[in-house]
Amino acid sequence: MAMQGLSRRGILGGTAAGLATIPLSGRAAPPAPDAPAAIPPPVRTPEMQDITLQVNGRRIALAVEPRTSLLDALREQAGLTGTKKGCDRGSCGACTVHVDGRRVLSCLTLAIRCQGHAVTTIEGLAIGEELHPMQAAFLEHDAFQCGYCTPGQIMSGAALIQEGHAGSPEEIREWMSGNICRCGAYPNIVAAIQTAASEG
């Protein structure tokens, strides 16, 4: 092979004794660094009210201030960070979730208002390891790059099919325009939604 510009800096062998710190399990996905996995104990402020949300089919008890958005409640309190904060002003769509099956912007929704309503986030879309058809289509069509807008795009796309507006590329483009993708995956997003719609 071409060794141009290469300096072999070190070739090492390790002994079995040195194995303890080395992760060798064959995880398919890139690993999360070894951060503590526990969610920090919530701070209780006097303004907080106890609410119960139905998220991804599970009841979650939270204490939230009246001003707390559903987005912050999900990310900071429920540990559901799949829903993303891109603008916090309803302009980007990264925080799209389903409430009673309809797509809404969780940054513009008060958590306290969601009591008694069914909330679905990106974490609740797959059934076990089986991806939702929209997730699978996004993967197949490479409908994302950095991935930060992706949960919102997928939640929006899944709802769009329910709404009956995935009929043509033009219609998809219009009805998906509330989800900004700065990496510019739009043509692939349209293709993914067409695929998922035709399979659905």
Binding site: G10, L12, L19, A28, A35, T45, Q145, S177, G184
Partner: protein
Amino acid sequence: MIVGQPVDRRDGRMKVTGRARYAAEFPLQGLAHAVLVQSTIAAGTILSFDTADAKGQPGVLAIITPDDAPRLQTKKASQQMVTAPLLQDKDIIYNGQHVAVVVADTLDRALEAAARVRVQYRQGEAVTIMDQALGQAAVPKHFRNGARPPDSQRGDPDAAFATAPVKIDVTYTTPVEHHNPMEPHATIAMWQGDRLTVWTATQGISGAQTTLATLFGVEPQNVRVVSPYVGGGFGCKGNTWPPATLAAMAARVVGRPVKLVLTRAQMYTSNGYRPRTIQKLKLGADQTGKLLAMRHDGFSQMSQPVLGEFVEPVALATEMLYACPNVAVSHRIVPVNQGLPTYMRAPGEASGVFALESAMDELAIALKMDPIALRLANYAEIDPHENKPFSSKKLRECYAQGAAKFEWSRRTPGPRSMRDGRWLVGLGMATATYPNNRRAASARVRLGTDGVAIVQSGTQDIGTGTYTVMAQVAADELHLPLSHVRFELGDTRYPKAPVSGGSSTVPSVSPAVQAACAALRARLFDMAIADPRTGWSGASHSDLRFENGVVIGPDRRITVPQLLAHQNLAFVEAEAESKPGDEKNEHSLHAFGAQFAEVRVDLETGEIRLTRCVGAFDAGRVLNAKTARSQLIGGITYGIGMALFEKTEVDAETGRIVNANIAEYLVPVNADIPPIETILVANDDRIGNPVGVKGMGELPMVGAAAAVANAVWHATGVRVRDLPIRIEDVLA
């Protein structure tokens, strides 16, 4: 061969299920929240803070101001490190500058307290708009980090221009633009004694490690930077900007881990921007279209020098793109009371090639020549600036294949000559080029008894596909199925790799991955030859092969688990560094492209709609057809934003950015983007690097704005020389 195949993004499953953790999403015990307080004036001095009200708010842990902020080792920092504003003094030099950090136990409480910090200023004189300060234009002190002077000249361009029969003498301007990655910048910082761990949204973990270690006066190995997923960068996460440093400072002050996430509005004042440019272009040609003279004088907006120096190098492409004997370029900076500008996707080329390729279109019109024919008439067979051959250049193929796909031949030459109902139709094209950059990078590979190769490099995947293409390169080099290769990045515990900027990640890191894998294979061969049970004593590496985890040699084979067991090893590991050699001394290294755009303009309202884009690119060897195409359509989309929408608006009076949000700073939405077709012309450039690749992150951005502007001229007859192209511009 796994390289080249349209393999699905390997981090894709994590991303589509919401399990990929970005910087702000690591849960830590006792995490506190920091919020920035920003100046409301553009110049002056802080007289005093009134923090009594804020301190009295529930949950407040600290309010850090220049009065009590820990001192940082800013004097030890290198020129490229951002060392201000870090609460080290009370000078105000731009509106939105950070002046205090409020830390509280919840985000809502930190926000509430931050809103109650009062600051008294003595207001100074501010110049907030570049055009008001052109008289202060200065020669850059650190152009290209001192690698070359800011000006260059060959031949006698002024004399040649004076006598040229056909002349273009025009000024182009481009606005301040903001990167706006979808993930706002975020950092979680945690101190354990003198050891600092940061989870941060960065394009360069090594740079973050060095910068934080320098500023806090600790050893680099005591700073660990973790960044497994980055929600887009486009340049604004290249430097280690003050918010990351301030998060670490806050964590040190309160003795707890601290999270600092910028608001979208703060993304406009905290981590750079593409500076406004004013570019004077002169082109002289003979009647056949041969360029006789080119002069490109660029002025770009700068902050006050105390923040550092950044130059938008607009005229570098002008030096090398066309065969012209008389060329001069210059770069000047104009200081104003705004933050420090920085790299933004195709820094220099995006703004500069918009000007150059618009001017070439104007020249083609003046000559009544087809725009592609004009470019071919001036095709540079060698780099005319460095007087060196190109390592490879398939630009001619780009023009030909792009024009064929776009059906350029249907274009009628005159403006307003193509219509579709109430829509004027315009077709435009432009050339793209970007240097093929490469820096030193290292990688490590470890093969264990389970047969899985774990490849690690301290590089980044900002959405560009690093996880995927590096695994493909490693799989090919090790002759392993892709399922048996895992690539890990985004942690300073891995071997060092450069910042993901300048389209350099793939050209830098893939050779290191390839070299590490080759070194691992050599190590396995050494082990096999030395193993008495193989009977290969005296054999050479060329007698052996390594395939699917098995070393195959004369008459027999041995598996990796067997080899390891014989020597009582759990794994075998190799590390290698790969760095540029002297290829750059002998060759000019560039990627190229030809970009085409079709626009429709409403006769009555001036509404501009793009209807089709085609881009044909020479980006060297393609590692993954699927992720490569995504890079290309993404770059074109970014360029469409530059052409038609993006502009940061500043209130001249206060220096405040008035559209610091993504509702009023317009970025393209789905409905704005037409079908985009991309072509990657066949190439494999092993002179540029041992893998044969050229970076393609910036390239598709470079020609996009000029292609659109040229199409708008063709539709309307209006030449727009100031971006973005607005509807008002095209209404006669």
